[in-house]
């Protein structure tokens, strides 16, 4: 909980600094400003949507604005209807927080040029549509480094949700981190075609562990896979939020998403009229991505993890730096070159060491 409290204070501080002199005037205006948020999962998932909602609450608290959220919005036709409704009911800025909301967001944005839209994890922008994302793969790389040290078999089980670049780059970063320590390491993956389904996630985790993996990693949102690992006396990684409470003896760390600062900044910009369409993709260095406390591991592994984190933060360590081969052994990134953001964002191949095909 300490992390959450810290960010709350941070966000509150930012709000205070921003609202210095014309405090009264701004307050009156701020309360009239409405921000809208749509989530793909329930805010009770304790993962992805939960963290976005924490960001929403922090922004409201810091700025004194009001907000509306709609949870459990299916990716598809329904999303467009919900976004349109928010745009139609006086929301000045609307955050659509799942990859699958991309086209719906752009479509509605065309009809509401005065409303600002922010689409998370997407790549299509317009004058009033910005995109934002966190470099989650940085955290995955650190997880991979830890996994290589902690897995006896050198095989990690990895639950994928949907085969989009976001998930693929995470898997690749993980195996690259693993292989930086153990060149024979393997990653066994399974795609469950869902972001959130505790039962299915648990089933997939059991299958992966039965197939020889001895450590769990996941790109789905519930603590279920971690619990399965804990139940078998094994270890694993949390996802999106700190899940240590669910597996006090099993969680090694967790990549935690922090949208607080970003939401506060963007809502304020929309309110002040300084908002611009941008493409924000930040990671560990800005605090948008934080690692939960490194736990349940020996001190030397902890130190290695912290050093890796530091090296990524300072830019000393580039994750997608050649040579990197694809599954079939073909060279994807040549020795001495580093992948640019565009190539990372569009990644559609699995790196050497990942077992199992990409679903077509």
């Amino acid at each position: 909980m300490s992390i959450k409290r810290r960010t709350f204070i941070q966000a509150a501080g930012a709000g205070l600094a921003a609202g210095t002199l014309p405090l009264l005037g701004r307050k009156a205006r701020a309360a009239d400003f409405k921000a809208g948020y749509i989530y793909v999962g329930p805010i009770g998932d304790f993962g992805w949507s939960y963290q976005h909602d924490q960001g929403r609450l922090a922004a409201d608290k810091a700025l004194g604005t009001t907000s509306t959220y709609v949870e459990k919005v299916p990716e598809g036709a329904d999303a467009e209807r919900v976004i349109r409704e928010l745009a139609d009911t006086g929301h000045g800025i609307i955050f659509t927080t799942s990859f699958g909301f991309m086209d719906a967001t752009l479509k509605v944005a065309r009809d509401y040029p005065d409303v600002k839209f922010e689409h998370a994890t997407g790549y299509k922008r317009a004058d009033n549509v910005a995109t934002y994302n966190i470099r989650f793969y940085e955290g995955r790389y650190i997880q991979g480094v830890i996994a290589a040290k902690m897995s006896k078999a050198g095989v990690v089980g990895y639950i994928g949700s949907i085969p989009i670049p976001e998930v693929i780059m995470g898997m690749n970063a993980f195996i690259l981190g693993m292989r930086s320590i153990n060149p024979q390491a393997k990653l066994k993956q399974v795609f469950i075609n869902s972001w959130y389904d505790p039962g299915k996630e648990a089933d997939a985790a059991k299958a992966l562990l039965d197939q020889g993996a001895d450590l769990m990693a996941q790109h789905t949102d519930s603590p279920a896979p971690l619990q399965v690992a804990a139940d078998r006396g094994l270890k694993g990684f949390g996802q999106a939020s700190d899940m240590i409470k669910f597996a006090p003896n099993a969680q090694l760390t967790s990549s935690i998403d922090h949208w607080d600062g970003y939401y506060t900044e963007r809502v304020k910009a929309a309110m002040d009229g300084t908002w611009k369409s941008e493409d924000v993709w930040k990671g560990l260095d800005t605090g948008m991505l934080k690692m939960a406390e490194y736990a349940n591991m020996p001190d030397d592994v902890k130190k290695l993890a912290m050093d890796t984190e530091e090296a990524i933060k300072t830019g000393k360590l580039a994750i997608f730096k050649g040579p990197i081969n694809a599954q079939d052994g073909s060279v994807k990134v040549a020795d001495g070159t580093t992948l640019g953001d565009g190539d990372i964002a569009g990644m559609n191949w699995l790196a050497e060491g990942v077992e199992g095909d990409l679903p077509k």
Partner: protein, 308 residues
């Protein structure tokens, strides 16, 4: 596949099948009395959240499980009052019950999100549980798994070997005739529906206390609907229900093994398998209409009101 993996896969299949078996057994009894309650999903969710909340606050899983059964039964009571006493349409009311249950459970569970709970304790007998291969399968389960079999056995005995069961089936097959002989049709249907609700509640409690020991919104993820389909799949025969639940649970687990083994089958295809299997079996069974008619309660879903 070595023996450790075999045991572990069978254990996974049992835990995937248990919530389905519990809820479907309850629904089977409900339907045998002539009541079609489509609210299984909603009742399971309420059971899941109540079971979780009570276990967490009292620290006693047994009380939690009882409360889950009670929660499911209370949901069924709402359904019963609406459809049996006030004669509302059963299909519409059942659907509404599911939607209501999803929202109610989410509301009740809001403060329990992100809280861990201890997993239901499993049986641990000296020597027996440690037997290779079958030890943990037969002697290392938690209480709800054993109860799912006891409840199924009890249901078979009740429905087909007891007088009360005969009466219940009579009510489901011809409520007018049963009424004419003097049986309390409505009271019997109330009882069967409440039993169905309680069993759904237990199925939900298994999810939130054993399968994935946590509360998360929508955690049933459609299992209530599968339980409903299983009753039809089983053509209202309890033993076939057991077969169906385990077949379904088995495919649920094996789909991931198929995927990790890299057999080149698309993941989307594999996740369709359990549903595809249900449809295929339904079609196969439906080809022999007389068999269905033999077991299906003739008055299923039809409202009963005393005329004259």
């Amino acid at each position: 596949m070595d023996s450790v993996v075999f045991t572990s896969v069978v254990l996974s299949i049992i835990s995937a099948s248990t919530p389905l078996l519990l809820a479907a057994t309850g629904e089977l009894v409900t339907e045998k009395s002539g009541v079609l309650n489509l609210g299984v999903e909603g009742m399971m969710l309420v059971g899941a959240v109540v079971g979780f909340a009570v276990t967490l606050t009292t620290g006693n899983a047994f009380i939690g499980i009882l409360a889950a059964a009670l929660g499911g039964a209370l949901m069924a009571l709402i359904f019963s009052v609406l459809t049996l006493t006030l004669l509302a349409n059963q299909v519409a009311t059942g659907l509404a019950l599911t939607i209501f249950g999803i929202g109610l459970a989410a509301m009740m569970g809001a403060s329990f999100v992100g809280q861990p709970v201890g997993k239901l304790p499993a049986l641990d007998l000296p020597y027996l549980t440690d037997l290779p291969l079958i030890g943990r399968i037969l002697f290392g389960q938690d209480g709800l798994v054993y109860f799912s079999f006891i409840a199924l056995g009890g249901t078979i005995w009740f429905l087909f070997h007891s007088h009360a069961g005969l009466v219940l089936r009579a009510v489901g097959d011809s409520h007018d005739a049963a009424h004419a002989i003097g049986y309390p049709v409505i009271a019997i249907r109330y009882g069967a529906t409440l039993f169905g609700g309680a069993m759904s509640g237990l199925g939900g409690a298994y999810l939130s206390l054993s399968y994935t020991p946590m509360w998360a919104e929508d955690m049933t993820a459609g299992r209530g609907w599968i339980a409903l389909a299983l009753v039809v799949f089983a053509t209202w025969r309890p033993l076939r229900l057991l077969l169906g639940a385990y077949l379904f649970g088995g495919i649920t687990i094996l789909q991931f093994h198929v995927q990790t083994l890299g057999l080149g089958i698309p993941a989307q295809m594999v996740s369709m398998l359990p549903y595809l299997a249900t449809i295929v079996v339904l079609v196969v069974i439906s080809t022999d209409r007389s068999k269905i008619r033999l077991n299906a309660p003739a008055c299923l879903g039809r409202p009963f009101h005393v005329s004259g």
